[in-house]
């Protein structure tokens, strides 16, 4: 695929001018890094960094039946969203209980919800939602907001830096709790993120996003690319769709049981399958003890049977290699296991995750 076929966000010229190393991500030409992804990672943990996440898709779900529709369609229950702007992290499942995508859903009003879905699955998700809407014959309008760009500003100084750039937005956003958003002057600002740090994700029309990016850059917020995004989310123990889960596994086998609300009689797509299907594996955190780097799809050997890594990489904060792995149910934190890297079996241990939160390691990195 030549670079001419890739989609570009409204911030593309900013990335080019900042000498970004550009790569194809889900058909978009996106910055992998702007020099050093490790520097960008540290910048987010210690100060403030920003990510162009405009490749993700915002889909508004509107109408008198919007709430009931989403209660049918998502594994988490939007009836729990009782405060304006509050959000849930949820899975979209197929009829077999397999994960089609993970997403965030905000309630804007009783008749309007906002979904943010992954770039690689956006068209699949939209088609799925349309087919469900048509089948269930609900008075629901599905509105993809393709005209919007999105910037994630993350780090201990992220919100402060945003308020310096946009003083007038402070009064509306100062009181936002985590996982809550608000509409301000044609933008949607949410206290959410994919890094394990505090911060905002700002959705806005293209020209406003460009202006915001430039103003934040002038205030010292570091542009950060997909490389840092991946190391940050892995440290924070956050799943990546397509790696840690896909349509062949259920949320229960992916560390996402907590996002599935089975507490009521609510019928939702995939519910029956989840109740019938016993999980045989679970997702666990790994810390490599021997020297090397964990990656995806490496074989894992435990006292209870085999498994494999789903996401792996290097943790700049821990200065160690970490991974998420799908392993037999009885594998527990503290277990010593082995991972096959190239042709050698290297020592690793199972640890609880997240590995890092608010800049601090949560992991005991001693070998035993």
């Amino acid at each position: 695929m030549s670079s001419a076929d890739l989609k570009r966000t409204p911030l593309f010229e900013e990335h080019r001018r900042a000498n970004a190393r550009l790569v194809d991500f889900a058909g978009w030409e996106m910055p992998l890094h702007y020099g050093s992804q490790i520097d960008e990672h540290h910048h987010v943990r210690r100060d403030a960094g920003m990510f162009d996440v405009s490749h993700m898709l915002v889909i508004d779900v509107e109408g008198a039946a919007a709430r009931e529709f989403l209660r049918r369609v998502l594994a988490n229950d939007v009836a729990r969203l009782t405060v304006p702007g509050k959000a849930l992290y949820a899975c979209l499942l197929n009829e077999a209980g397999g994960v089609l995508d993970d997403l965030i859903v905000y309630v804007l009003s009783p008749q309007c919800f906002r979904l943010v879905v992954n770039a690689a699955t956006a068209e699949k998700d939209l088609a799925w939602l349309i087919s469900l809407r048509d089948r269930l014959a609900d008075a629901v309008e599905l509105r993809p907001r393709r005209e919007w760009a999105m910037i994630a500003i993350q780090g201990p100084e992220a919100r402060a830096r945003f308020w310096r750039a946009r003083e007038t937005a402070r009064v509306a956003t100062d009181g936002l709790n985590a996982f809550q958003g608000v509409e301000v002057a044609g933008q949607f600002i949410a206290r959410t993120g994919y890094t394990g740090e505090d911060g905002f994700e700002v959705m806005s029309p293209a020209d406003e996003a460009v202006a915001l990016w430039r103003d934040l850059r002038a205030l010292g917020v570091a542009p950060c690319g997909l490389g840092a995004r991946d190391t940050l989310r892995l440290e924070a123990g956050m799943n990546l769709y397509g790696q840690d889960m896909d349509e062949s596994v259920t949320p229960l086998e992916s560390g996402l049981g907590w996002t599935v609300d089975l507490s009521s009689q609510r019928d939702f797509v995939g519910r029956q399958a989840l109740l019938n299907r016993q999980p045989l594996k679970r997702l666990a955190g790994l810390l490599l003890v021997d020297k090397g780097v964990l990656r995806s799809h490496q074989l894992v050997r435990t006292a209870h049977g085999e498994g494999s890594t789903t996401s792996g990489g290097f943790s700049p904060t821990l200065d160690r290699s970490i991974a998420l792995a799908r392993v037999p149910l009885s594998v527990a934190a503290g277990d010593a296991i082995e991972v096959q890297i190239r042709d050698k079996w290297l020592a690793a241990k199972v640890v609880k995750y997240p590995f890092v939160r608010m800049g601090k390691s949560l992991v005991d990195i001693s070998p035993s």
Binding site: R21, Q37, V293
Partner: protein, 129 residues
């Protein structure tokens, strides 16, 4: 400077420097480290082991990917750079100073098969089109 003139190069992006004592020093080029990104781990070839020209003798791993290092000429490994164990990022910072290992060549004639700076530069330019 990305193509120091006094070095020799391979098409697998190693550089080689001939030392006064007959050994050669080997590392990876600016182009190699730039493509890999931030390096986090170097698996050195074992001291005392002999390799044939073109044989896999070690690995450099970045956050994004692992990449094999190939022996540019045949020989026995006589030294490895211990500094890289705790500071692999030195290769990103100074790829032509952060050497990886030294060989005692078993067939000095093989040195003729390596690329000079101009030929390596042409290779890089051709690769990026």
């Amino acid at each position: 400077m990305q193509f120091p003139a006094e070095l020799r190069y391979t098409d697998t992006h190693e550089w080689l420097r001939q030392e006064g004592d007959g050994t050669v020093t080997v590392g990876i080029t600016w182009h190699a480290q730039e493509r890999l990104g931030d390096l986090v781990y170097v698996e050195n070839p074992p001291r005392g082991k002999a390799f044939r020209k073109g044989e896999e003798c070690g690995v450099v791993e970045s956050v994004k990917a692992a990449s094999d290092i190939y022996a540019p000429i045949s020989g026995e490994v006589v030294a490895v750079n211990e500094e890289l164990t705790s500071n692999p990022e030195k290769i990103n910072q100074e790829p032509y100073r952060a050497w990886i290992f030294k060989l005692r060549p078993s067939d000095p004639g093989e040195l003729q098969t390596l690329l000079d700076a101009a030929a390596y530069q042409k290779l890089i330019e051709a690769e990026s089109h």
